[in-house]
């Protein structure tokens, strides 16, 4: 597996950056000529992970959100979304559908959406240090070097 393209993005955990973040990732992967449905899946999954950083990782402060996107020679998109926030104590429980620690109107479906809209989701976290969510999406229709 060879990385053929990569980008990094850092921005503040302000809620109005949610649309910027998902649009930026979606614009970056356009070079792969994804379908509308694939783009929409990627946007939605990125929106979930970024919103989690804003809502849960940095609940009372503004922190930095780090996004790294890599594209492999096999049309695999690897999206890493990282925060240096509060961390997750029990990852398995956090990823269960409908589980939420929030008292506002949250469905507890963010991780379930990431899992069903991408091909692979991996979460690493340390309480007090932060969380990294890595998602992979394979595009079937196109080939990178075909362009």
């Amino acid at each position: 597996m060879k990385i053929v393209n990569e980008m990094n993005l850092n921005f503040e955990s302000r809620s109005y950056n949610e649309s910027f973040a998902r649009s930026a990732v979606s614009a970056f992967v356009l070079c792969l000529d994804p379908t509308i449905a694939e783009l929409s899946d990627i946007k939605t999954a990125v929106s979930e992970a970024v919103t989690n950083c804003i809502v849960h990782a940095y609940p009372d402060t503004i922190g930095t959100i780090y996004i790294n996107v890599r594209i492999t020679d096999q049309n695999r998109i690897i999206i890493k979304i990282r925060d240096k926030g509060v961390g997750i104590e029990n990852i398995k429980q956090a990823m269960e559908p409908l589980y939420t620690t929030s008292s506002d109107e949250r469905a507890g479906l963010g991780f379930a959406v990431m899992q069903s809209f991408t091909d692979k989701v991996k979460v690493r976290s340390k309480v007090g240090a932060g969380t990294t969510v890595t998602m992979e999406k394979i595009l079937y229709r196109t080939s990178y070097d075909k362009r």
């Binding site: 809620s15 939605t44 919103t51 804003i54 959406v113 069903s116």
Partner: protein
């Protein structure tokens, strides 16, 4: 963004654009304000103008289901575009019987 209309005991809220955690609070506020003052028999959430939605939109639907129940009304979710059907079906809100 949201536009509301009230007639025949039905409050229709037409949603526009992208619904995420940033946009949801103002939409929620407007719909809940009208739900409390107008006490509709039915609240219709019209998604025809929505181009993007994440789980914050699901939270918005479930929250309005509760709010309109409090005034004795029923929720209906109408005109869900094709590109939102995947997230709607994953959410299980279908089991509330609100989808039309």
């Amino acid at each position: 963004m949201v536009e509301t209309k009230f007639s025949d005991d039905v409050l229709t809220a037409k949603l526009y654009g992208e619904i995420d955690h940033h946009k949801a609070p103002s939409i929620r506020q407007k719909i809940d304000g009208q739900t409390e003052s107008l006490r509709p028999k039915e609240l219709h959430l019209d998604f025809s103008g929505v181009s993007f939605m994440d789980s914050s939109g699901i939270g918005l639907i479930m929250g309005r289901y509760r709010q309109v129940s409090l005034v004795g009304g029923k929720l209906k979710v109408i005109n869900v575009p094709k590109n939102l059907q995947k997230i709607i079906s994953l959410s299980g809100i279908d089991s509330l019987g609100v989808l039309k």
